[in-house]
């Protein structure tokens, strides 16, 4: 109501930025969804599928950047504040690498040294129409595994 012309100009730019980021976020989401639909027909352990998953993760990071940077305004804060938020979050790089590597290694070890574990993952369960029936069917090997 009582802002100066300079302020008006500034707020107009802010609205433009909001619109721009909204469009970017929507487009990124649509690309993610297209990739998701495309991925459905791919064979399970193919390199292409892995590459698409990697692309989706990169798009996810891009979306996170736009939300934090523009919607949460972090990009326009001063450098000290950006650093105090972003630097601790770098721990995630290590967390993700270490834990996923560990999980993968655990699976390989079990597949090598635990014949029971390996066998469990090859027994096919016949598909039942009733959800309740198959719940029991599925649960049984689990209980057996836990008991051992």
């Amino acid at each position: 109501m009582e802002h100066t012309a300079a302020h008006e100009e500034h707020s107009d730019g802010a609205i433009k930025e909001i619109v721009k980021v909204t469009i970017i976020l929507s487009v990124l989401t649509v690309i993610e969804l297209i990739l998701g639909f495309w991925m459905m027909g791919m064979p399970l352990e193919s390199w292409l599928r892995l590459a698409v998953k990697g692309t989706i993760i990169i798009l996810m990071m891009a979306k996170a950047f736009y939300i934090v940077g523009y919607f949460m305004h972090l990009k326009h804060e001063i450098k000290n504040l950006i650093m105090t938020i972003v630097v601790p979050l770098c721990l995630f790089i290590w967390f993700i690498i270490a834990f996923l590597y560990d999980g993968n290694s655990f699976r390989n070890l079990r597949n090598t040294y635990d014949p029971h574990f390996k066998e469990q993952s090859t027994i096919k369960v016949e598909k039942k129409e009733e959800g309740k029936e198959s719940t029991h069917e599925v649960k049984k090997p689990e209980e057996k595994k836990a008991a051992e």
Binding site: F71, I78, I96, F99, L100, F117, K118, S121, G131
Partner: protein, 226 residues
Amino acid sequence: MSTTTTVTPTKLWSGGKSPFNVEYGKLMMWYFLMSDAFTFGAFLISYGTIRFSTNGWPNPNEVFKSFPFAPEGVNAPLVFVSIMTFILIISSVTMVLAVHAGHNMDKKKVAKNLIWTIIGGIAFLSCQAWEWNHLHNEGAWWGHNPFLNHDGTASSTNFTNYFFTITGFHGFHVFSGVIINIIMLIMTLMDKFEQRGHYLMIEKAGLYWHFVDLVWVFVFTCFYLI
């Protein structure tokens, strides 16, 4: 009107200036969100670790393929969850607009955009409630997994445990975000911020709401897409 104080970088450490150039409450909100990010990160990384240590995993396109009011046995993977994603993105946008209107001391616009944000939050929660209810009817719950792996082998209950725990924790955040936004709306309508002379409180609520949207970006990708 505006809290922005000019910072001269050369004399940043000589005292008398705010080193982060934001008010106390906003800085603390950032630190809270950082800790919350670590909580969600721990959940998602734990999910990833278990998934990597398991031989098979259910296909999300088979598990999340239904749609409200659609006939039984409809095959519409990704459709419902993409609607949920867009609801959250749009409600995030209206929240930015509310914060922006707050900068301009525009009470009417703040209230209007807050109302849209609250509607978006409630819509998202309703979608999640429908999805949980639907999965529960299919026999999925903590400790129960009716779904099979990609290759038709028996799947572990880890899948449903992680799904309900993480989406539940996120849904709880959305719920508290809606409550916070309702409180902000009431305070706006009661002219609290006009009396204070600034709408900084809306900014803090906005930060929290955007964080909720941010977490959904990760949850959506980890559970539904890959």
